[in-house]
């Protein structure tokens, strides 16, 4: 019975530490995701600038009856093909970013302890004895920051996506409204929509953050107790 108990307890601990590893990888992957999205946005800006230059050179300003389409004050291309092209660039960036994150998280090495734990209590003892506590505490510590970073990037990503969609909708539904009036409220509307839709996710994120914080301090205590225990002083 004791053997089964110790295997169950250490199994729970190791599964939690596998999750921590995934959070850490997720955060690193989000940096990749951010970089891909930045490149996509730079490409969009480049295309817009190129189109504007072409218009200036050819004598046609980027405007619709004198009122430029604006995304947060930045001129948007009036050519519908270029506009769709830019949407496709952003969409491809998003898909590539999501694929990159998914691949990196899927490739995280987890569960390597399972075979050892099948030996029962000696396996559990081996896992705990071989644990590099300092490195592990560092990983949990990074995972805490990583999870916060992941939540922030996620909200920013949704915010940008909603902003682009709203701008897209505005361009076609408020065609006759002067751009400078309608578009200035898009960031606020987008933020409210994103906060409403990610409320549960954000609450869960903060709960996870607090539980990772508790885990960090508990593991620190456990590592210290394990090193000081009688059986490790022999």
């Amino acid at each position: 019975m004791s053997d089964q108990d110790v295997v169950a307890k250490v199994g729970d601990l190791m599964r939690t530490l596998d999750d921590v590893k995934r959070y850490k990888e997720l955060a690193y992957a989000m940096v990749d995701f951010g970089a891909i999205m930045v490149v996509a946005v730079i490409a969009v800006i480049g295309v817009t600038m190129f189109q504007s230059s072409v218009y200036i050179v050819s004598g046609f300003p980027t405007s619709n009856n004198g009122g430029a389409y604006l995304l947060f004050g930045t001129p948007f291309p009036s050519n519908i093909l270029v506009f769709f092209g830019e949407l496709i660039i952003l969409f491809l960036g998003l898909i590539l970013g999501v694929y990159r994150v998914d691949k990196r998280v899927r490739l995280t090495k987890v569960g390597e302890w399972k075979e050892t734990l099948e030996e029962g209590a000696p396996g559990a003892i081996k896992i705990l004895s071989n644990m590099e506590w300092d490195s592990l505490l560092g990983t949990v510590s990074v995972a805490r920051v990583a999870y916060l970073f992941y939540s922030i990037i996620k909200v920013i990503g949704y915010f940008l996506l909603v902003s682009v969609i709203l701008t897209f909708v505005s361009v076609f539904t408020l065609f006759s409204v002067p751009a400078t009036l309608g578009y200035s409220s898009i960031p606020f509307i987008s933020l409210i929509i994103v906060l409403l839709f990610t409320k549960n996710s954000l609450t869960e994120g903060f709960r996870k953050l607090r539980s990772l914080d508790s885990l960090f301090w508990d593991l620190r205590w456990f590592a210290s107790e394990f090193k000081r225990a009688d059986f490790n002083q022999t």
Binding site: T16, A121, I125, S129, K208, S211, L215, F231
Partner: protein, 98 residues
């Protein structure tokens, strides 16, 4: 083969190996040294060092016929170690799933 004092000081027993030896003895009862070393997955030379250390601690007894016997002290030490882990790992506040 006996450990000299220098070897005894520098040799820190691996808890995993100790636990394996005790578990095998508690499951199979008295066992001869070669079989025990094989079951524990360590070389005979290393096994002798462990056997010497465990005998000194009173965890096992080496019978005249060469078999190794687990003592109640050995069984208790193993049980205490397992209970220590259950108790301490059980106190960790692991994040809930979902």
């Amino acid at each position: 083969m006996r450990l000299n004092s220098r070897e005894q000081i520098s040799t820190r027993p691996d808890l995993y190996v100790l636990a394996r030896i005790i578990k095998i003895l508690s499951e199979k009862g008295q066992t001869n040294r070669t079989a025990l070393a094989t079951a524990a997955g360590i070389s005979y030379d290393r096994f002798v060092l462990y056997l010497d250390w465990m005998t000194t601690k009173g965890f096992v007894i080496l019978a005249e016929d060469g078999d190794v016997h687990l003592t109640s002290a050995g069984g208790q030490a193993y049980e205490q170690l397992v209970q220590w882990i259950i108790q301490h790992v059980g106190q960790l506040r692991l994040p809930r799933k979902g």
